[in-house]
Structures are given as C-alpha cells and as structure tokens.
C-alpha cells in the first residue's frame, strides 16, 4: 500500500542515522585518543590531566560509561565543546547552518533548473553541434575542481574586474539602513560562491537529464503522442519531461554527498561562514569535537535530503503508490 513504501524509506533513514552516530563515537574514540589533545597544553601536570580526563568523562569505561554518555548527549544535542572557541559545538553548528543551507540551496536550485533545461535541449538536438558543445562543457565542469573554479572567479570578478566581493557573507562593520540593503549586500556576496556551486553541480544534472530524456524519447508513448497530432514541443514539455524527471530525482540523491564536499571547499575559499568553513578551521586546529559534530550534521543532512528525494519521487510517480 501507498504509505508503507515511504514508511520503509523513513525507517531505513533512521537506521542509517543511528549507525552514523555509533560509527562517529568509535571512529573518534578508537582512532584518535582524545588525551593527546590535552598533552599539547603547555606545562600540564599529571593531576591536571587526570582532572581534565574526568571532566570529559574519559576515565569511565568505554562502552558502559562513555558510549552511554555520548548517546545521551547526542540525543540532547550536546556535541561537546570546541577546543578552539570554547563554545558549544552545537551552538557553532547552529550559527553556521543557515549560511550553508542558503549557499547549498541556491546552488542546487540553480544547477537543477539550468542543468535539466540544458539536458532537455541537448537530448532533443542529439548529435548536433549544440548537443556536443553542451556535452563538452558539462564534462569540463564535472572534471574541474570546484574550488579551482571558485579561485578563478575570485581572480576575475573580485580583482581583475573588481565588481563583486572576494569573500565573506556581508560587508563587515556596516550598519545597514534597512533590511533591503542588508539582503542586497548578502545577495551580492552570494553571487560568486553560488556560481561556483552551480557550475560544480550543473554537469551532473545535465548529463542525468540528457540521458534520461534520450531514454524517454525512444518510448512508444512519445510516438503515440506525436501521432495524435500534438506538436513536438508540447510532446516534449508535457510528456517527455515529466517522465524524464523521475530518474533525475532518484539520481540526484547521489549528488548530495558531492554537494557537501563542495560546501566545504567553496565556503573555505570564500570565507563563507557556514559548516564548510567551520570544518576547514577544525581541520587546521585539530579541533576534534567540532569535526565530530560537523561530520554528524553533514551525514544527517545527506540522509534527510535522500529521504526528501524519496518523498518527491513518491509524489511524482503514480506507479510507486500502487504497490
């Protein structure tokens, strides 16, 4: 029945998330001994070290003590304290998350729209110059590192022809007269990173949509629709595209991992204050609690986005509801 399919997907997502949480604990406890971080503190005495260890609950037994504590803490969004800023990791993440969502959302939206639109164009002009040109372009953006594209964008549009800001999310130290000018300022700062994000994702969406359209266009019902006298562009827009979107939705779920990767590198070069930049700083400072928290949030985000794609598929394809 209809609901069961979605319920199954949701249950699978929860199980995956639980595994991430468990994995996260053992990864950091087993592979990285947290005490090594404290020995870096200059002039630390063994008693101070022991105090610190008990503060962090590291003197408790691994499974029955530390693991149980960890699960309880994680469930109440207590992800520990950043060693760099001394702030709660969850607070740092909460501050950074909206900026990442903004960048990722705008980039994904633009890439989906432009990529699938170009994919439709290429599929209906298969084998012609415009198709080959688009194929070459998308393969290039697929192969090019997104941070390299970003650096080139900065070099060109922030310094060579200085029309856009090179980084940050808004002009620092400015009192905005109204929310309109504030939004405009953020939008201006968003253009370059969002362009880099869009270019990075564009190629994949284009290739998926193109091959999906090519498949759909060979189906019998397309010939039947043409036989009814429906003009070609309406056959494409009303029948081919809605069917071609289905694989796009499924396959774009695979993209979410890449989106996260792009967020890390692109936010790093644009100093965009999101989760990616937070990750980069944590790498540099060996700030393991932050790395642990960020990994958890990124994974949860991808799992959630996958579930969202399943819901969308459920909504778009009547065949799923049947069985």
């Amino acid at each position: 029945m209809s609901g069961r399919w979605l319920a199954g997907k949701a249950a699978a997502a929860v199980v995956t998330l639980v595994f991430v949480i468990v994995f996260n604990f053992f990864l950091f406890r087993v592979m990285g001994d947290p005490t090594t971080q404290f020995t870096r503190i200059p002039n630390i005495t063994p008693t101070e070290l022991a105090d610190l260890r008990s503060d962090y609950g590291l003197d408790k037994p691994l499974l029955t003590g530390q693991f149980v504590d960890y699960i309880g803490d994680t469930a109440s969004f207590d992800l520990g304290t950043s060693q760099r800023s001394r702030r709660a990791v969850w607070t740092e993440i909460k501050d950074a998350l909206p900026w990442t969502l903004l960048l990722v959302g705008v980039g994904t939206l633009l890439a989906t729209l432009i990529g699938s639109w170009l994919g439709v164009i290429a599929a209906t002009r298969r084998g012609r110059n415009s198709d080959n040109g688009l194929l070459g372009f998308s393969l290039f953006t697929y192969a090019a590192p997104e941070y390299w594209i970003g650096i080139i964008l900065i070099l060109v549009f922030a310094f060579w022809i200085p029309i856009l800001p090179a980084g940050l999310q808004m002009t620092p130290g400015v009192e905005f007269s109204s929310w309109v000018s504030e939004v405009t300022d953020v939008a201006e700062h968003l253009i370059l990173p969002a362009t880099a994000m869009t270019l990075m994702l564009l190629g994949q969406y284009f290739l998926i949509m193109r091959s999906s359209m090519v498949d759909v266009l060979t189906e019998d019902f397309i010939t039947v629709k043409r036989a009814t006298g429906l003009p070609w562009d309406r056959v494409v827009s009303r029948h081919a595209v809605p069917n071609a979107l289905l694989p796009l939705v499924t396959l774009s779920a695979i993209q979410f991992g890449a989106v996260v990767g792009g967020a890390i590198t692109i936010e790093t070069i644009f100093s965009w204050p999101g989760l990616g930049e937070l990750t980069f700083q944590a790498i540099n400072d060996k700030d393991f609690p932050v790395l642990q928290g960020v990994f958890l949030v990124f994974s949860a985000g991808v799992i959630f986005a996958n579930l969202l794609a399943d819901c969308l598929y459920f909504y778009l394809d009547p065949r799923v509801k049947a069985d």
Binding site: F221, T228, G229
Partner: protein, 336 residues
C-alpha cells in the same frame, strides 16, 4: 467510387538502404486491409510512414493521397509539412500501437491523455462535453467509465489495449492503423480485441489497416491482404483468394507453415533462411535465395501484376496452377 487512401511508390531508406522499397496500394472507405510479413519486412515502417512519424534517420518518398469523408479536396500527405501533418494525425488517421504496455504516458491519468487529444482536434473545450465524450468512448470499447480516472499501470494489458482503441476513436477518424494490436495479449483477450475492432469498423464505417505477422488474425478480420517481403508487397488480393490459392511462393510457404486444426500433427517447418539485409538485397526477386522454385528467370526483378481476379503477385511463374513439392523442386533446381 474513389478510394480513401492511395499510396504509390512509397519508399523509406535508412542511410541509402531501402527499408520500404516501392509499395503501392489502395484502400476503400470502410475496408480492412491486412499487412503481413516477417518482422523486419517493413510493415511497421510503412505504417509510420503513412503518418510521417518516422525517426529522423529514415527518409521517405512517394505519394500518399487521403480522401476523407466530407473533405473538399484530397489531402496530399506526401507533400504535407510537419505542421500540416499535425492537423491530419488523429483527426483523419489514428494509430493503435503494438506495445500496449508503453503506449500511454505512465505518469498521467488516462482521461487527461484522452482529453488532450480531443481538445487538439475539436472546438470542444468544455470539460463536461469532453468528459461525456470520454465516457461514451469507454462504453463503446466495453470499459467501465471509472477506468478513465486511472493511471495506465492500474489497468491490465487487455484493458490498456481497449483504452488505446478508445483513444484512437476519440477524433472520429476515417482510418485506423493497428500495428500488432493483439501481440502482447493472451489468446482470449486477442479474440475480444479483434471482435471489438471488427464491430467498430462495421458500426462506424472505419477503414482499417491491420498489421500482423499472424496470418490467422488477418484472415479473421480483413477483406484484403497484402503480403510484404523485404520492403515490397509480393502478393495482394482478397483474403479468401490469397488464402485458398496463393500465387507467390513466399505466401504459399507462409500459409504452409501455419498449424492446421485437424491436420497433420506437428508444425510444418518454418521457411529456411533469413530475410535479406536491406543494405545488400539480392539481385532480381528478393525471395530468390530462399525460394525452392527459383530458376534463372528470377535474376530479373518480377513486377507485381494481376494474375487472377483482384489478386496480384510478384512472381515470374504466376499464376501457379499447381504447387510442386517444395523439397523436390529445390532438389531439381540444384541439379539444373
């Protein structure tokens, strides 16, 4: 009386190789013509060429003239542009496709798909009018009206094929082309769909071009039959005369390979060999390499000519008074 459709010298080529190689036929109003042959002989290509629906890799030529009821002057399909063809398609000629499974858009409800076609060719824009038309059509083809609100995958294969027939009738065409309409169905469903087509043809005065590899199906439904081989019509005539007294060796062998109820046990052997590759057709008669009766004369191309009343065959030796035993003939041919 002028015929509804006149096709002459229809040719379809793929990169220079002929797929359909000079096909001529006429179809009267209300007549049912069967088009038979092995797969790959150009039946479906011919059907798609009539509606100019061939994929771009295929090029077609030849004249096709349609004289639908009430039209002031004949429609020259051969000369029509794509935009012009859009006015003809479904309004005058419609199509029931072979794949009942994939002939409907899977993500749209059936009534929406039918309404789209109806609105395309008539001034009936009102939802109520269109809705009434759809429920009438569903009654005509023997489906519950509630099925219209369903998605294609929710119906059985037989029901879907009925939907396709209803869809084909929704603009009151004068000609329906049915390409293997029953191939994907089981025997009981086959019979039902064929009866439905037969009944509709009589009550609506439809002309029908029925394409099938199954001579039995064509024999039951059609007035006239045309046998195709390697892109050409090798024999045509009234169904009864062609079946009772075939005048082309290919027809003869096709009929011999049909199982006969109450006849000898077991199937007669299929025709040995394979149809020629369209890229390099044999010289002269296309069937020569597989024909047990082939002689030196067959190196010349045989024209399609009338050999009995209303029956034509493309064979140098037609009319055949008596068919020699093919195995003996083949052996004799080898010796000679």
């Amino acid at each position: 009386m002028t015929s509804l459709l006149e096709v002459s010298d229809l040719r379809v080529t793929h990169r220079g190789s002929p797929i359909v190689d000079g096909v001529d036929f006429k179809l009267d109003r209300g007549e049912a013509l069967g088009l038979a042959g092995e797969s790959g002989c150009g039946k479906t290509t011919t059907a798609l060429a009539l509606m100019k629906l061939l994929p771009p890799a295929l090029t077609q030529s030849g004249s096709m003239t349609l004289r639908p009821e009430g039209a002031e002057e004949p429609i020259n399909l051969g000369r029509r542009t794509e935009a012009g063809m859009q006015l003809v398609r479904w309004r005058h000629i419609s199509l029931v496709f072979q794949g009942a499974m994939n002939s409907l858009d899977p993500v749209q409800r059936i009534d929406a798909q039918m309404a789209e076609a109806i609105r395309l060719h008539s001034d009936q824009k009102g939802g109520k009018e269109v809705g009434r038309k759809i429920s009438d059509l569903f009654k005509t083809v023997g489906l519950p009206v509630s099925a219209a609100r369903r998605y294609p995958h929710e119906l059985s294969g037989g029901q879907r094929q009925r939907v396709m027939i209803a869809l084909a009738l929704c603009c009151d065409p004068s000609l329906v082309i049915a390409d293997e309409p029953t191939t994907a169905l089981d025997v009981v469903m086959q019979a039902q769909v064929l009866q439905l087509l037969e009944r509709l043809r009589e009550s609506l005065g439809l002309a029908l071009i029925l394409i099938s590899h199954d001579l039995g199906v064509l024999g039951e439904t059609c007035d006239r039959i045309a046998i195709m081989y390697a892109g050409r019509i090798v024999e045509t005539g009234p169904v009864r005369s062609v079946f009772d007294d075939p005048q082309h060796p290919y027809t003869k062998l096709l009929l011999d390979s049909l199982p006969v109820i109450g006849g000898e046990r077991g199937l007669a052997p299929p025709i040995p060999g394979a149809p020629p590759d369209p890229g390099s057709p044999p010289e002269g008669c296309r069937f020569r390499p597989r024909c047990p009766y082939a002689k030196d004369e067959c190196l010349a191309d045989p024209p399609l000519r009338e050999v009995a009343k209303g029956q034509s065959a493309a064979c140098h030796f037609a009319p055949w008074k008596k068919w020699p035993d093919p195995r003996a003939a083949a052996a004799a041919g080898k010796k000679a």
